[in-house]
């Protein structure tokens, strides 16, 4: 089905505009299974916009995104089944408990995993049935991160996953990301923290801004 040469995910000549301002243009990147990619760039460079386009939330882009060699338009269901997106907004209902939130999420993805185990893994053992409005910002973020333990998706798209997480939590999350990558997953993330993961590949969106296109496409180390 998928031979080794076909990248898991491929961006072909992708460009995004926001309020008549071009954020990035001519983005050609191949993501293979086992890649760990950090999207870099200053605030407002279009990192979130890019991740939302890749995740399939926003269709407001030009160019093509291919999943396993097929355009997203034809392989959309397979792609959303195989991907996980964690955005700035956690997707957590404050009136519900962590367990209730996650069971909704599980039904949405169609997976079956152990919610209690995932909540224990993110350090929320004992908070399963506490309403989320009683949790702290970091704990709320951890409820969202518990989805990573539930998920069986190969592609993780994480927008600032380390926000509001304490130091041990960051180390644990890094280990989890490393495990996903060694298991043949693909992790695309944005973060303003310096990550210590050895497999990390940086892609700087500044190199794809229209003003910079006259220069050599900096940061375009797009090896497949």
């Amino acid at each position: 089905m998928t031979d080794l040469l076909t990248p898991l995910l491929e961006l072909h000549d992708l460009s995004c505009e926001r309020d008549e301002r071009c954020l990035f243009t001519g983005l050609n990147i191949r993501f293979a299974a086992g890649d760990l990619v950090q999207i870099g760039g200053p605030n407002g460079a279009g990192k979130t916009t890019l991740l939302r386009a890749i995740a399939g939330i926003s269709q407001d882009y030009e160019g093509e995104i291919r999943y396993s060699g097929q355009p997203l338009a034809t392989a959309r269901w397979e792609f959303v089944r195989d991907s996980l997106y964690l955005g700035h907004l956690a997707g957590i209902k404050k009136a519900l408990s962590p367990a209730e939130n996650l069971s909704w999420y599980l039904a949405q993805t169609g997976d079956s995993s152990d919610i209690n185990q995932a909540l224990t893994a993110v350090g929320l053992y004992g908070y399963e049935y506490t309403p989320c409005y009683q949790l702290s910002a970091g704990q709320l973020r951890r409820v969202a991160l518990a989805r990573l333990y539930l998920s069986q998706a190969r592609i993780w798209i994480l927008d600032e996953p380390f926000t509001a997480i304490d130091k041990p939590g960051v180390a644990q999350l890094e280990a989890l990301i490393a495990r996903q990558v060694t298991q043949g997953g693909l992790v695309i993330l944005t973060s303003h923290q310096d990550l210590t993961l050895p497999q990390l590949r940086m892609i700087n969106l500044q190199g794809y801004q229209p003003t910079a296109s006259a220069f050599e496409p900096g940061g375009a180390t797009a090896n497949g």
Binding site: A33, G34, R52, A55, G56, I57, S58, Q59, D60, W77, E78, V80, R81, D82, S83, Y85, G87, H88, L89, A90, G91, I92, K93, K94, A95, L96, E100, S103, W104, Y105, A107, Q108, T109, G110, D111, S112, P131, Q152, A153, R154, Q180, V181, T182, Q183, G184, G185
Partner: protein
């Protein structure tokens, strides 16, 4: 080299599970926001209670106005509750997750609209005969009022979902929502109120109810599709 332990061919996928999960979650959220739940119902109650005080306590006058007043107030009560239909999901990011879920968005929208109707349209319908009694609606009109509202409020929840989905990304979308939805509510209002009037005068109401039923059938099929498209547009912004 990567060890391919993660695969995409996982079995056991149920589309009904998405509907049930959304339905259960929205009911739970509604049950935990009881004050919001009571909003349209309290509006309905207060508005109708004020009519005899403001217009006339005369029985014959009220009986004449009752079908129209109850229907207009039911319409406004529905309109009042529409803005929150997708708002909280948009604000907390659940909507994004629904858009990229392998579950069908159609059923997710259906589940949300069904819950909306269960907590706004249905209570209004159940309360309407009691309030109609206060407006001294003749007894022949009760059954027509109940059935027409049952069909009508369901259509209004479905049509309203399209407007709510279109305006969800706007901070102050309330006025725009009313402007979008109101013209589509007018046929429902006309046939609903006319069914009650006709029943009071001893006429047949089969035609009006059939048309309301046809509206509902059309809305069930088309409104979630329109709302899906609107939600995708709203998420782009």
């Amino acid at each position: 080299m990567a060890n391919p332990t993660l695969k995409n061919d996982r079995g056991g996928f149920s589309f009904l599970a998405g509907f049930v999960a959304n339905f259960r979650r929205d009911l739970l959220v509604a049950a935990r926001h009881k004050s919001e739940l009571a909003n349209p119902l309290v509006f309905f109650l207060i508005a109708i209670t004020l009519i005899p005080l403001g217009v006339s306590p005369e029985k014959s006058v009220l009986a004449l106005l009752a079908p129209g007043i109850v229907w207009v107030m039911a319409l406004l009560a529905t309109l009042l509750s529409l803005d929150g239909l997708f708002r909280s999901d948009y604000d907390d990011g659940s909507l994004e997750q629904m858009l990229i879920s392998p579950q069908s968005l159609y059923f997710a929208v259906m589940a949300k609209v069904l819950v909306h109707w269960l907590v706004s349209g249905l209570p209004v319908t159940l309360l309407a005969p009691v309030l109609a009694l206060m407006l001294s609606l003749p007894a022949e009109g009760f059954w027509a009022l109940f059935t027409s509202l049952l069909l009508g409020t369901a259509s209004m929840s479905l049509i309203g979902a399209v407007g709510a989905a279109l305006t969800v990304s706007l901070r102050k979308g309330g006025l725009l929502l009313s402007l979008i939805v109101m013209p589509l509510y007018i046929p429902v209002l006309i046939f609903g109120a006319s069914a009650v009037q006709s029943a009071v005068q001893g006429g047949a109401i089969g035609m009006q109810l059939a048309i309301l039923g046809a509206f509902l059938a059309l809305a069930i099929v088309l409104a979630p599709i329109a709302a899906m498209g609107a939600l995708r547009i709203s998420a782009n912004g």
